[in-house]
Symmetry: none
Amino acid sequence: MIRVVLVEPEGEYNVGFVARLCKNFDIDELYIVNPKCNIVNAESFSAKGRDILENALIVNSFDDAIKGVELKIATSSIADTKGDILRKAIRPWELNDIIGGKKVALIFGRESVGLTREEIAKSDFLLYIPASKLYPTLNLSHAVGIVLYELWKTKDSRKMKVTSESLVLIDKYSKLLFNLIKNYEGDLSMYFALKRALIKGVSDEEEARTVIRFLRKIYTRILHQDKE
Amino acid sequence: MIRVVLVEPEGEYNVGFVARLCKNFDIDELYIVNPKCNIVNAESFSAKGRDILENALIVNSFDDAIKGVELKIATSSIADTKGDILRKAIRPWELNDIIGGKKVALIFGRESVGLTREEIAKSDFLLYIPASKLYPTLNLSHAVGIVLYELWKTKDSRKMKVTSESLVLIDKYSKLLFNLIKNYEGDLSMYFALKRALIKGVSDEEEARTVIRFLRKIYTRILHQDKE
């Protein structure tokens, strides 16, 4: 299940075009967080995607828009900034391997300022569409189009790789371990790096389970010692 | 050399967006055949691609637009119609192999009726962007975006990426940690799983270094406790 989330979109044409693209690529759900433009006016750009627009869910907060999904993919045209682990980004063609058959939210930010760091931090991955160094900022709906196209390409061959339960456990133990060794509050970079590398890297459920067992054993080893 | 050709475009926003996309993906030339809309009004949609629009060549005929190129790629949302050889189509991801280093025109038709059979016949290939059977017709500029993105992909050189020194360190700390928690000799599966997932999953050297720091901190945390 793929949900497209637009966060505070400002351009009516973009909202309309995104609805059309959702129709073009059989997207299941469109959520719009707190739109800054007139949704009714967007209809003229939605062509045969008008029903997608009419059925779009308008919500008041980012958190409401990501409820019920297993994997949250934020997008940005600013990525791979040196020294900023949060902005390490995957590429569109890596999506299918990560997604498997999961319930996924693809999250696109404001035309003017994109997503906030807080919104990116609430997501599991950051995605970047590679483009010219001189001007990498794609228009919102064109970014949506490219991502949906890339997902569509391999639609038939999507593998059910790793269960969402395992993703939750990888996240959980990465965070628990991180809490044991962190130097100071606020810098979550080691947690982000480990969690993302593992979610991307595990090649099937069995490997995921083995990694989780490893993490849990290390964690209980440390806890056990702390008690002694 | 890549030239984008728009044949009789009808929507100002599309012309503007295409200019922006040409800037996003370092396209060399934009040709517009006999535009059916006001090019000046397109500027507001071109953002930082305005210079591309100002330098676009407006020509009077399809033939003028394909002069001087070695390979002409027509595009259509109607493709692979049974019994119609002219409409046999390639896919965007096949472009790079076909193009090599040639001078290429990527030709996009009218929003309303696309390219004529005559125009397709004058081209060397027909390209089709796969999409929903129910509604495969992408908006013009979104089709352009997807094709230019696909051409650009091969220029993205983020890969290789992680130094062999980091690979050695991931291996080393996975093994050291494993030795602290293993139940019995012989079963190395947890070590293999963690090491492989991490080596596959880290997306560049900086992320690898951050993961290694995490593993080392956990390791020294346990060692330190053991001494107490």
